[in-house]
Amino acid sequence: MPHKVIVDCSTGETTEVELTAQEIADQEAAHKAAEADRKAQEVIADAKATAKTALLDKLGITAEEATLLLS
């Protein structure tokens, strides 16, 4: 069973306590939320990359040429 470390700032003592089943369940839920967030960001990034490629194709220029135009 994983444990948590607690540093008591008033005494300087450090204790290690086993995580409860509820704490582990809460962490699992948080992890799933983060994974969903990470995947959503990847979807957005992929969509932007696809749109950028399509636009460059439409304009008939390369990414480097587009950068030059905007510099």
């Binding site: 470390v5 540093v7 700032c9 582990i24 948080a30 992890h31 983060a34």
Partner: protein
């Protein structure tokens, strides 16, 4: 003139699910947590969850996240923690650690707590997407004085790795 005082620190000699600074004294003006962390998550840039006083409600954040390829702005409201804090996962270069700073001004004031968080994983990587940095404007909508800070490595199966180091500073404005 501001003075930094190290209140407590902990360098892990073995793995741990979370690290909590408890019984934080109220004798300073501001607090800052600085830590260098690595988890066993199978990623380059793992997440860290931050909570105050053991609470699981009223955390919100606005975060800029960049990874060398894309940049995004994220808004999380009414969350159970702040989690746009990125440190090293175990796919990153061996023995490298990400680092983060959490600044909590006026932590004893009877008002909501605005907090600034910056973080980045490290890993000697030149590959876009593997290194992530964040800058976060966070808010805990609670007027209680901050008495504890917990840094959670994520899941029951994900742990802070040995060598991760955590430091809590008190800042006095005189």
């Amino acid at each position: 003139m501001a003075t930094y005082t190290l209140i407590s620190s902990n360098v892990l000699s073995s793995t741990a699910g979370s690290v909590t600074f408890s019984a934080i004294p109220s004798s300073y003006t501001d607090l800052e947590v600085r830590f260098s962390g690595r988890t066993n998550d199978t990623s380059w840039a793992a997440y860290c969850w931050v909570t105050l006083n053991g609470a699981t409600t009223n955390f919100s954040e606005t975060a800029l996240v960049g990874n060398g390829s894309t940049a995004s702005s994220n808004r999380d409201s009414a969350s159970s923690s702040w989690y746009q804090v990125r440190i090293n996962g175990n796919n990153s270069t061996a023995s490298t650690y990400g680092n983060a700073s959490i600044y909590i001004p006026s932590y004893t004031a009877s008002q909501n707590k605005p907090v600034s968080i910056t973080s980045t994983n490290e890993g000697n990587s030149s590959t876009a997407g593997q290194i992530v940095m964040t800058a976060t404007a966070a808010l805990w909508s609670n007027t209680a004085a901050v008495t504890s800070i917990t840094l959670d490595a994520t899941t029951g199966g994900t742990l802070w790795m040995s060598g991760s180091s955590f430091y809590l500073y008190g800042i006095s404005n005189a």
